[in-house]
Amino acid sequence: MAPEEYRRNLVAPLAPPPTAAAIPKLPPGIWFRPAHTPIPVSLKDLYETGIESGHGETRAHLKLRVARYDYELDLANAQLRNATAEIARAGGERVQLRRELEDIHRLHEQHSRDLEAAIAAARARIRDFEESTFWKASAPLRYIAHKAKELPRSARRIAHQTRLIPPRLGTARSIARDQGLVELLRRVGAKVTKRAARSAGIHRRAGLESRIEALHVPASDAPKVTVIVPTFGQDLHTFTCLKAVAAEAAVVPLEVLVMDDCAPVAAADALKGVTGVRFERNAQNLGFLRNCNRAATLARGEYLLFLNNDAVLEPGSIAALLRVLEGAPDVGIAGAKLVYPDGRLQEAGGILWRDGSAWNVGRGEDPDRPEHNYVRDVDYCSGACLLIAKSLFEANGGFDELYLPAYYEDADLCLKVRAAGKRVVYQPAAEAVHFEGVSHGVDTASGVKRHQVDNQSKLQQRWKSVLQSHRVNGVLPRLERDRDAKHRVLLVEACMLTPDHDAGSVRTWKLIEVMQRLGAKVTFVAANLEHREPYVGRLQQAGVEVLYAPYVTSIDALIEERGVDFDIIILARYYVAAPHIDAVRRHAPRALLVLDTIDLHYLRQRRLAALEKSSALAQGAQKTHQQEIDCIQRSDVTWVVSEVERDILSREVPSARVLVQSLIHDLGPRRNGFGERAGLLFVGGFRHPPNIDAALWYVGEIAPLLAEMLPGVTTHFIGSNAPRAILDLQAPGIDVVGYVPDLEPWLERCRVSVSPLRYGAGMKGKVIESMSHGLPVVATAMSVEGMRLAPDKEAVMAEEPRAFAEAVARLYRDEGLWNRVSQSARDHVKDHFSREVAAEGLGRLFEISEHRRRG
């Protein structure tokens, strides 16, 4: 219809506007469009509708959305850039901060050293004063007095730190800004108090008991140890001493002899409330030396512990001393760590110099320093806390009366014992707080000095020939400390040794033991400087010096400071070694540098790359190869674990001196026979990637075949650090056990051990461990690489899944075969992986080292 006609039609019936109603009151909201939640449409839908289907409005909307997303993306990218810059800036600031902190630390150290020198001088004066009679009378006041002395000292420390603060305000502000005020306060607090806690803090056992009370010492009828406490008055000291001993009685069967040397007030009276203790009172004053000797005659225990009445034992000390004596038949005397009541070290064993003078090792130092915390042979131990077999004491005639009334009698006894071929050993785990100076109450100050001088010359005269081999007073005390060490070895590994977690640690640990047996003193440090218990404690108790932060600030610093002490420096793994080789060459030019490859890393990576057909991995392996070979070339000696690796290296680096230092395995027991065993065993730490690969391959390819061949037989997977992928393998027939602290029950329980490694390098400790327990192994060639095993004799070998499964099944069912393999395997371990074999290799190393030292 024509528009005009249409218009006329529409308009025709329209009447003039009606009379409109009044404007009502309207809600104000009606003038604004209500908010609609937009229906979310994905970009994909918009693209399909707008671009692919040609819908114009959608295209326009898409354009807006894309523009908005681009804008938001730009915004996000800008924010990301800012954040990255901020992180970089903060990183730079952190480096700066660390540098400043190190400066502060150095300044602080310097200051502390100055201070300590001043304190030492003051202490000498105080000692003179303490030894006066006035001091003796005022003994109970000392603790309080000590605290009073301590106060200005910490006040000075704080004042010093405060003086340092203004130039560091910028640093402080940035810490406060980046990490919050609490962190800043923590840092400042740590700095002010740190040193105090370490070297000058109040020892927690510093105080005497406040008064003599009732005390029962649970004495044993069949005492192992007789604790001999010589006294002359000082009954509160004696009480404090006895109270500590009483706690020990719960652990070790004891008797306690309180030897009252005819004090004005009888000890038995003064200590009326103390029961379970034998009070022996001399009819006349015998002096310290004869009092002790008399006590020995009264003792019923197998061992004698001479304990001054002003010495307060830390819990567990007697057991720790006993452990040393009983742990090795050649130990004659064990002595404790003595600590001043103010927390500083009094003595960590003693050195006798060529002139007969005696040094207390570590006097005045921080008793927690690592060098004071490993079991160590010493020239002598203080008689203030000394454990000896009663028989040995008597055989040597007790304390020699040559040294009457006192001084040097303990050193003389130790020299006698050593002369008899026994060792005198310092046990840091036994600790006594020693209020030195109280005990020798009958001596006057002048008397003490005279006796000291006299007795030193007596000792020197008697032991001249022995002392001739000792150094002149004060020369190289650090070396003199372990004078008997034939070889001094520093061993640097990546992490703390954890022999219950990985085979590498087992090998290193046992190597250390063999080195010690060959007369070496071993110092161990983890490249990450960690202090991890219980391993540090175990190593220290085994006589290994273990270093760690904060006492060591870096490996390079350690090498700089002490490198010259060592004959041999062993750096384990190329990546640990690489950064420190230069420092060794510079600061320890005399030392033989050994690179312990553990296993050849590049070989392992190269094999993984081949297995995975990965060029990226191959590139990584190439890089490792370059670095590892470089380290080998720069080392004097390279250790590998197998002849196979030695052969490879001798081809690759003909100039390198490569020694095989294989795994060490003690022959385990074999208690259970074929019939008493069931199940299969897979052992391997899962931090080691080849083990993960092996486990996954086994479960994926071999286990299904075994499920048919050996229905109902379970494979147990044991190993620490199992990742999710391994934990998820758990299924019928597959038992993921994870970490076990003791593998032996499993080695006795299972019938066949499997080792399906497809790549890797080095020696597989778990295979040898199985073999040493007579548990037959089915293995891939890779698993037993370098072990020179005869197939089907010492182990059963198979490569492909079916062959592997069949081998397992055969060994699992055939008792005859099982017995043959079991026995051959044990023989093989004995022949190739014993400590004797390891000792041969180490012997060669020491020869090289000595040769180098001489020429």
């Binding site: 528009p3 009447a15 209500p34």
Partner: protein, 635 residues
């Protein structure tokens, strides 16, 4: 500390004058004529007007004491003039008034009352047709006066319907603005140095005042006409840009505040009250069209009718907005009247508003997504209604007589079938088919007219509603003449090197001269450029090499155009073009001349000729197969 507003009984009204005698005269005369209770003094600054008649007339006024005249020897600029006026009496509040305004009766009283309503007021601005954020009828736009109204009658509506209403605004607008003396005292006068010739100076002042904690108010019960951009002449745009840059630099918060204000538009209710009043006052009958929101043909039809009826009626449209609201819009160009009502709670308000507007007739086009009560809306408005059917919704809730939109309904009367069908896609109101048809049977029956656009539709409606007699009116359409357009193909990707810039220029020239040309790129262009329908240029998008022959066949071009800007060594695409025998237009460059030698229909254009020349050559080549250019080129 500061004197309260109105402390001095007199207010200075400052009118800077430069050029435009008629407007100036109207402005000043309106100010002289407007009766105001508020005592005031008119201070006119003649800033050395280039129009002598202005200065002469002003002198006459001054001589008779009607104004106080400050005449400059030389032109000092708008801002200097304003400042001078504001300095005339340093204790009086002032009103700035441009010389192209027209003020109504009592205007000053209402401005002053507004300033007194609130504490801490710096400026007061009235509504105006041309005052950005204080504009009416369209917000933030320049407006003329609504047809049929003068500034006084419009102001009367503001005065009556927005009595005592005010709104906080981010800045005042200088064409008519009251400034309190205390604000001047606190933040100083206009910044003559930065905004010497005008524009932006009042924003700068207002932002200073805002930062000092003072407020700016829109006086909603006053309308002052402002012609706009008389005093500044032609360089207004440049001035505005420069001023904006300074303001943005000084007050980064300004744009945000304005953007927020525009988004919230708090003065909208005040505008709508006046809109409503104008609708009521209109001499034309009001027609309400009820429709859906689906767009398409119905939308077009409704728009067409609104345009068709523009002179006869005020057309309002009611349509759904979402599922829960209806929207009412006044369809006249230049109007912004819109209102939204929630169906569930505000239907009564909607009806009340429509009754106040006074609806003469309702015209239903669709009911989709509207609430059921819409069926009775005309009855509620006491209005007759027409129904135009665009589909078959009264017959079936599926509207199109198809169960799925893909197949025609086979059993339109089979009850079982229908139940299943409606179970799947229920009616928009909860009804079964019977109830639905009963409702709409009644609805159609009561309509004054039922209009359908075709006889077929009429027959189908009658089949279900025999008592309805639909009128068959085909939709009103002006047949648009289809002219012959020549299609010119360009083959291959069009980069700058291949002549993309020239292509753009050709398209623009064709649009500009409305040439019967369409440029078609067989391929893509190297960057977004204006495309059809903005300009006669379109693209097929990239093609696969082996499909080019078919693409040319499908596209059926009338000629081929090559625009290479660099010498081609061969050009495969030229081969494809030459196979068609159609005219080829190419630059006299590279391999083109030698390859086209002997090809009957070709034109070689010299490189660098204007786009218009290329287009002319194209038209000539397509219009006359043996064109002069061909001869010329080959000679």
């Amino acid at each position: 500390m500061q004197a309260p507003f109105g402390a001095h009984p007199l207010i200075d009204v400052i009118i800077p004058v430069y050029r435009g005698f008629a407007a100036t005269r109207r402005s000043i005369e309106s100010a002289l004529a407007a009766k105001c209770a508020q005592p005031h003094e008119l201070i006119v600054i003649d800033d050395a007007s280039p129009e002598p008649e202005i200065s002469g007339w002003l002198r006459t006024l001054a001589a008779s004491g009607q104004i106080r005249l400050v005449a400059h020897e030389d032109n000092r600029g708008f801002v200097a003039s304003v400042n001078e006026g504001m300095r005339a009496h340093r204790d009086r509040d002032v009103v700035l008034l441009n010389s192209d305004t027209e003020v109504p009766e009592g205007w000053l009283d209402r401005l002053v009352q507004c300033a007194q309503r609130e504490p801490h007021v710096a400026t007061v601005t009235p509504f105006s047709n041309n005052a950005t954020i204080c504009s009416y009828p369209r917000f933030a736009a320049g407006n003329g006066l609504p047809p049929g109204m003068d500034s006084r009658s419009l102001d009367a509506l503001f005065r009556d319907y927005n009595a005592a209403v005010f709104v906080d605004i981010p800045t005042g607008v200088g064409s008519c603005m009251l400034i309190t003396r205390s604000a001047l005292d606190q933040v100083g006068e206009f910044d003559q140095q930065a905004f010497g010739r005008g524009y932006g100076e009042e924003v700068d002042f207002c932002m200073r005042a805002s930062r000092a904690g003072l407020r700016h108010l829109l006086c909603a019960d006053l309308f002052v006409f402002h012609e706009g951009e008389v005093s500044f002449g032609s360089d207004a745009a440049g001035l505005r840009e420069r001023a904006q840059a300074i303001v943005d630099e000084r007050y980064p918060e300004f744009q945000l505040a304005v953007r927020d204000f525009v988004k919230r538009e708090p003065a909208r209710p005040a505008r709508r009250r006046v809109d409503l009043a104008r609708l009521r006052a209109s001499a034309r009958p009001r027609v309400l069209m009820v429709t859906h929101a689906w767009g398409g043909g119905v939308e077009r039809h409704v728009r067409d009718l609104a345009a068709l009826l523009e002179a006869d009626c005020e057309v309002l449209v009611l349509r759904p907005d979402g599922k829960e609201h209806v929207e009412i819009r006044w369809m006249r160009a230049g109007e912004e009247f819109e209102a939204w009502f929630e169906n569930a709670t505000q239907w009564r308000d909607c009806v009340a508003m429509l009754r106040a507007i006074g609806i003469s007739r309702v015209h239903y086009h669709h009911i989709h997504s509207l609430p059921p009560q819409v069926v009775y809306l005309a009855r509620e408005l006491d209005a007759a209604y027409d129904v135009t059917l665009h589909d078959y919704y009264p017959i079936c809730p599926q509207y199109h007589l198809s169960p799925d939109g893909a197949h025609p309904c086979e059993a339109a009367t089979g009850a079982g079938h229908c139940t299943r069908c409606l179970d799947e896609r229920p009616a928009q109101w909860p009804m079964d088919l019977g109830e639905w048809r009963a409702l709409f049977g009644e609805f159609l029956g009561a309509a004054a007219r039922v209009i359908v656009p075709s006889a077929d539709a009429a027959a189908r409606v009658r089949e279900f509603f025999p008592y309805v007699e639909p009128l068959v009116w085909s939709h009103p359409e002006v047949p648009s003449a289809i002219r012959r357009i020549f299609k010119v193909a360009l083959i291959g990707g069009q980069s700058t090197m291949k002549g993309a810039r020239v292509l753009e220029a050709c398209a623009e020239d064709a649009r500009h001269r409305d040439l019967p040309l369409h440029l078609r790129v067989l391929g893509h262009v190297d960057r977004p450029m204006p495309l059809w329908p903005a300009v006669p240029l379109s693209i097929t998008g990239s093609y696969a090499e082996e499909t080019l022959a078919d693409l040319i066949a499908v596209e059926r071009p009338d000629a081929f155009l090559f625009l290479s800007q660099v010498p081609e060594t061969y050009s495969y695409t030229l081969s494809a073009a030459m196979q068609t025998g159609l005219p080829v237009i190419a630059p006299r460059l590279g391999a083109f001349p030698e390859r086209l030698r002997g090809y009957a229909r070709h034109v070689l254009v010299p490189p660098g000729v204007p786009a218009a020349a290329i287009n002319d050559a194209l038209l000539a080549a397509m219009g006359a197969p043996e064109s002069r250019e061909v001869t010329a080129a080959t000679s």
